[in-house]
């Protein structure tokens, strides 16, 4: 098919609708397997919608999805943005597919994704440094980071380096969904105060409701204006946008049997209708 990037969506309402389309595509991808990284797509849907419409320009910029488990959301967002053939999503997670469930070198439509967590920010720093070395003053590097990854020391090595070198074309979005494998991040390691940590490392930091597309759009606009690397900490949850999910859903790896998948798709289709 002829892939053509969509024109930028302007209103926060349209961004919210795009977020639900990302959710619906993610539900269909996970439904094929009965379980998978749906929670990551649900928590990051508005973040990705905002990134793909308000920050990332495919011809000029680079995008890094640091936690490889989130690549499902990037695939959905890319398919909604004319950057990936939507038909490819049907191969997600299947044997032999390049759309592997945890992102790899074969993952289409992203510049880099890392299955081993905590490494993406360093790569984003490297891309931003490359642009500076080449005098590409307009190029942006956008990186999605998860809050659980902030437990990895490498993230802070990279943050310190970016702050020292004032890599002002670097924009990080932290999906603060308070979810990691063993449970809520807050119960495993206190990472708060997150925004203050980034500020202390020399970053422009904002803390916003990560499901509020208006707040996200305003935050990324300020981030792009900043005279230093900028981070948007987006407060989210792994079940937002799907009321049908049971209360005890494991957000890291959602079980989605056929009947629940049908209800989930119906809920999203009704909202999008």
């Amino acid at each position: 098919m002829d892939l053509k990037p969509e024109s930028p969506v302007e209103s926060s309402g349209e961004l919210a609708e795009l977020a639900d389309r990302i959710r619906l595509r993610a539900v269909r991808m996970v439904a094929m397997h009965g379980l998978g990284y749906l929670g990551q797509a649900l928590s990051s849907a508005e973040i990705l919608a905002t990134v793909y419409r308000r920050v990332y320009r495919p011809d000029a910029d680079r995008i890094v999805i640091s936690p490889g488990h989130y690549v499902i959301g990037a695939f959905a967002a890319a398919a909604e943005s004319g950057l990936l053939d939507p038909a490819a999503l049907a191969t997600y997670g299947h044997d032999g597919s390049r759309l592997e469930a945890i992102g790899t070198e074969r993952s289409p439509s992203v510049d880099l994704t890392c299955g081993s967590l905590g490494q993406g920010l360093s790569a984003a720093v490297g891309f931003a440094l490359s642009d500076r070395l080449r005098g590409r003053a307009d190029a942006r590097t956008v990186v999605l980071v998860s809050d659980g990854e902030l437990e990895e020391g490498q993230v802070w090595e990279a943050a310190m380096f970016a702050g020292h070198h004032r890599l002002d074309r670097l924009v990080a979005l932290v999906d603060a969904n308070n979810s990691q494998v063993d449970g809520p991040v807050a119960e495993i390691t206190t990472i708060e105060p997150v925004a203050d940590k980034w500020r202390a490392f020399g970053w422009h930091a904002q803390d916003v409701d990560g499901h509020d597309t208006g707040a996200l759009a305003a935050a990324v606009e300020a981030a792009l204006e900043a005279d230093r690397p900028a981070v948007v900490i987006a407060r989210t949850s792994t079940t937002t946008g799907l009321d049908c999910l049971p209360d005890n859903t494991d957000g890291h790896f959602v079980k989605l049997p056929a009947e629940l998948a049908e209800r989930a798709a119906a809920e999203l289709e009704a909202r999008l209708a």
């Binding site: 081993s116 490494q119 891309f127 440094l129 090595e157 990279a158 380096f161």
Partner: protein, 334 residues
């Protein structure tokens, strides 16, 4: 090829990299807070716009280097061998080796050349890097070779780990020497025994070959600076018909040159007895001098002679290796 004691030079690597970088703006130099020690103060002072000091953050430094390579630069990453391989191993796997990117990781101060104790002694760096798909692993022996290695790896398509002695670098080879990424160097032919060495053990291996020859043993010598991919054909060919093979490396005998040679010989069905000179699956210790450590951990000329003698099954006492004292500024094997 010269005989010990060898003259030494300073910063042959740093000068070679700078010479190349002057003419090739793809080259970017990264340092992990060991700039002078890794000879890249020369680069920093002349090409500061392409010099990146990552500070003490090896994981981040490797991640940055991977992205720079992805974007078309040729990053050379510098720190001590221990910090270059132990700390950022997962980052090398995921950000460099798996994507097969042209990052050059240069680890200084190999094996027990550092008297700084186990924290500073890279005794398993070759084994770690050799285990990774796509990596080329080089343990260079002298200033002539180092200069050629740097030129040879600039355009190599995949990642390289280069292991270099720090400080005064001996000049062993003549200017006619030609390093190859793909061929081991058959320095001497011999029908009774074969020594395979590289890096800081090459001078000891050269003398050991002479000592064995004087004792009536026709001993061959192969210099294998490229541990991976090992030129198995040259090693196997040189080992054809010999009764004993000795490897010598400034590294643990697990996973490095000795292991690579063992694999090559066994796969070829070569039945010669093998002895591996190197650290015998042990950490070393801190000391005042590297000389003491080479002696303590059996990384000497005599160690190689004894290993060959034992493998040949001789019941006579082994010949005694001479000591070749080095004046200040010279280098001789222990």
């Amino acid at each position: 090829m010269r005989r010990p004691p060898y003259p030494t030079v300073l910063k042959p690597y740093g000068r070679a990299l700078l010479d190349l970088a002057r003419a090739d703006d793809r080259i970017v130099c990264l340092s992990g807070d060991l700039t002078r020690q890794c000879e890249v103060d020369l680069f920093r002072d002349e090409l500061p716009e392409r010099f990146v000091n990552a500070g003490m953050s090896e994981a981040n430094m490797i991640g940055i280097a991977g992205a720079l390579a992805r974007a078309g630069h040729v990053p050379f990453v510098h720190t001590f061998g221990v910090f270059a391989t132990r700390r950022p191993f997962d980052q090398i796997v995921n950000a460099v080796a798996y994507p097969n990117l042209p990052v050059r990781i240069v680890g200084f101060m190999p094996g027990v050349s550092s008297p700084g104790g186990p924290s500073h002694q890279a005794i398993e760096d070759v084994a770690l890097m050799r285990a990774l798909p796509n990596l080329t692993v080089i343990d260079a022996a002298d200033a002539v070779e180092i200069r050629q290695v740097v030129a040879a790896i600039v355009d190599h398509p995949g990642p390289v780990y280069l292991r270099l002695k720090r400080g005064e670098i001996p000049v062993i080879f003549d200017e006619e020497y030609q390093f190859s990424m793909y061929r081991a160097q058959r320095l001497r032919a011999g029908g009774d025994a074969l020594i395979v060495a590289n890096g800081m053990m090459l001078p000891a291996a050269v003398v050991a070959t002479d000592v064995l020859a004087a004792a009536g043993i026709d001993c061959g010598l192969v210099h294998a600076p490229v541990v991976k991919p090992l030129d198995a054909a040259t090693v196997v060919d040189a080992a054809a018909g010999v009764r004993a093979v000795v490897t010598a490396e400034n590294h643990t005998i697990v996973g490095g040159l000795g292991s690579a040679v063992a694999e090559a010989l066994a796969e070829a069905g070569c039945g010669a007895r093998l002895r591996r000179v190197g650290l015998r699956d042990t950490f070393a210790e801190g000391a005042l001098t590297a000389h003491h450590l080479f002696q303590t951990y059996d990384l000497t000329t005599q160690s190689i002679v004894d290993a060959a003698w034992a493998a040949l099954g001789s019941s006579d006492p082994a010949p005694v290796a001479p000591t070749s004292p080095a004046a200040v500024g010279e280098y001789s094997p222990v």
